[in-house]
């Protein structure tokens, strides 16, 4: 039977209890939605005692389903003020599943000044330990210490100085399987600040002496189905640029179609994109001893991650992704791949969302505080975040905080969260997702980019966004969306896998209804939290300014956004 760990930071206690039967067939985003609706008051203060940090694994955790070991982190977001689920790859979910732990909740606030970590030892004993000696230690140094103490199979979930300082862009960093670097991130929504407010520095999970054995309704049938499913994903991955290159390859598509954000979503093209493109990336990997095709979790067949070295062949960063590249690169008029990699390293180390940090840098450029394309000045701004200077702390609160402070008129945020690497004027379905997702501006909530949708009219764009938002709710409950995308034609197998794991009918409807229920629960939570329908909009400049690449504006009218979820 699965277990849950309940941390009470007021009493500084941790208790282990059986996992709730009512959540049995939930995991990841679906679990967070139902748990929060029941246990976290929607009007609570995000950094107050009534908010809870929730860490959980997926519906298929502990099984051989490829990428089932995504880690989901949830709570009321200090950035958006609404419900937030942020998920990540890495080794932590795999190790939690190995100990039979499905859920960790962290409630209340410490009464005394201090810092603690949750330690799960090889025998599965959980304890809250004093972590004051690690105060101010950033993620790379912290993880190195944990490896020295517990060996290289230990998995960690940690915050850096950013989370300790309660920056609204603070992330949780998770150790990557294979490379062991703290380069996977539950980045969006400032949940690192929520963890910091609880006085929790890290969750440290040792490799279990004996792995937990999942109970199946029909293990033999499950094993047959999962082998078929994994083969389908692996076959798709062979033709997937994320497997062959990495997510950075996305720029080869977005740059030529006006989707790549340039100069704070100016709508212009960026002819220098090849300097930060897939070709340059692959060349640097090959000539400097870096590598791609790195799995971030055991059993992943997509293997989209990478280890990127500097010009001297020394390790610089890993998990170097398109979003970071797009927002810190062309969106800041920067065409230096190594500089962007260095920025990625700084962000992972102090523990901030690279999308939020990059958009904050763009605010500084738009308002003239620093020049467009000035990489040294951009790096200096990130250093200020690291040092915690007065302006560095404003930077740490993200794009909107910096934009308002500097008087910027074009602040690219929805529900206070800044836009990722897709200009919504040229992928309007994605723009609809940004506007209406309970998560704020979030591409992983429903990216519709692709000819089948982008060439179609407004109704088709809205249809695509709604459908994908539901699909992403169940994808975020089950597996990595990159693996999910490669199995898009065979998703019916997920219904059969549910039945052979949990029993019941092998009906895909149980999966799709989970997606609908999760999405509607999140919207209801946000409404109760005070988020109004008028916040389901993009910033005004996307409606008024044409993309100079295509002549397109975001022309989805308010009514179309309002009726999107009238199921």
């Amino acid at each position: 039977m699965w277990s849950k760990l309940l941390l009470d930071m007021k009493n500084l206690s941790v208790t282990k209890e059986p996992y709730d039967k009512e959540y049995e067939e939930l995991g990841g985003r679906s679990l967070i939605a139902q748990y929060m609706m029941k246990n976290v008051p929607p009007t609570c203060e995000p950094l107050g005692k009534d908010n809870q940090l929730i860490i959980c694994t997926s519906i298929f955790a502990g099984t051989r389903l490829t990428t089932a070991h995504r880690l989901s982190v949830g709570g009321k977001s200090p950035l958006t003020g609404g419900i937030k689920e942020s998920n990540s790859g890495g080794s932590a979910a795999y190790q939690l599943a190995g100990h039979g732990i499905k859920l960790i909740t962290v409630k209340d606030l410490p009464e005394e000044e201090g810092l603690w970590l949750l330690h799960i030892d090889a025998q599965g004993n959980a304890s809250l330990e004093d972590a004051s000696e690690y105060k101010g230690l950033n993620n790379y140094d912290f993880v190195e210490k944990m490896h020295e103490m517990y060996g290289d199979k230990v998995a960690t979930i940690s915050i850096g100085a950013a989370g300790e300082r309660l920056y609204k862009s603070a992330s949780l960093q998770i150790t990557e399987f294979n490379s062991n670097h703290p380069s996977r991130a539950a980045a969006r929504g400032g949940l690192g600040a929520l963890m910091g407010s609880k006085g929790l520095k890290a969750v440290v999970i040792e490799n279990p002496v004996e792995r937990y054995q999942v109970e199946y309704a029909d293990k033999q049938k499950f094993d047959e189905l999962v082998s078929s499913f994994n083969k389908i994903v692996a076959a798709g991955a062979k033709k997937d640029p994320f497997h062959n290159i990495g997510t950075i390859s996305t720029i080869e598509v977005t740059a030529n179609n006006g989707v790549l954000p340039v100069d704070n979503f100016s709508g212009r093209l960026f002819p220098e994109y090849k300097e930060v493109g897939a070709g340059k990336f692959m060349n640097n990997l090959e000539t400097r001893g870096g590598r791609n095709k790195v799995p971030c979790q055991p059993g992943c067949v997509v293997q989209c991650s990478n280890c990127y070295n500097d010009k001297d062949g020394k390790y610089l960063t890993s998990g170097f992704e398109y979003e970071t590249l797009a927002i810190m690169g062309p969106n800041c008029h920067i065409s230096d791949l190594d500089a962007v990699a260095q920025m990625d390293r700084i962000c992972d180390n102090i523990g901030v969302d690279t999308i939020e940090a990059g958009n904050a840098v763009a605010m500084c450029m738009e308002t003239g505080r620093i020049k467009w394309g000035d990489t040294q000045a951009a790096l200096s701004l990130l250093k200020e975040m690291e040092e915690g200077t007065e302006f560095g702390r404003i930077m740490g609160d993200g794009c909107e905080a910096v934009g308002k402070y500097l008087g910027c008129k074009r602040i690219p945020v929805v529900k206070h969260q800044s836009l990722p690497g897709y200009d919504p004027r040229n992928t309007k379905g994605t723009g609809i997702t940004y506007a209406t997702s309970p998560m704020g501006a979030d591409h992983t909530a429903g990216l519709t980019m692709g000819r089948a949708f982008d060439d179609c009219g407004r109704s088709a764009q809205a249809y695509a966004s709604t459908k994908l938002q539901v699909a992403m709710c169940f994808s975020d409950s089950i597996m990595c969306l990159f693996a999910f995308a490669n199995a898009a034609n065979d998703l019916y197998l997920l219904g059969e896998l549910m039945a052979t794991l949990y029993g019941g009918t092998p009906d895909f409807g149980r999966i799709s209804m989970l997606g609908v229920k999760t999405l509607l629960t999140e919207r209801a939570y946000n409404k109760m939290a005070g988020i109004k329908a008028e916040e389901d909009r993009l910033p005004e400049f996307f409606y008024k300014e044409k993309s100079s690449a295509t002549g397109s504006k975001f022309d989805i009218i308010d009514y179309e956004l309002e009726v999107l979820f009238d199921f």
Binding site: G236, D240, I245, S249, T250, G279, M282, L481
Partner: protein, 65 residues
């Protein structure tokens, strides 16, 4: 011979990338990325000639990240 997404097709003198893709029955559009051996080929370069032994990968973006 030319390999296109693990399919072996017969090389002929003057064959272009576009020809090889068509022979292999693959389709390309703005969501695809073409790799020739380890290099990225831009959409506007598909009229470039290939040499015998070239390995082409036609990769399609499915999601973002």
């Amino acid at each position: 011979m030319i390999v296109v997404n693990d399919k072996i097709i017969k090389f002929y003198e003057g064959m272009t990338i576009a020809d090889a893709i068509k022979e292999a029955g693959e389709m390309i559009d703005y969501m695809t990325i073409i790799m020739q051996d380890k290099s990225i080929i831009q959409y506007n370069q598909i009229d470039k000639k290939v040499s015998d032994g070239t390995n082409l990968k036609i990769l399609r973006i499915l999601s973002g990240g």
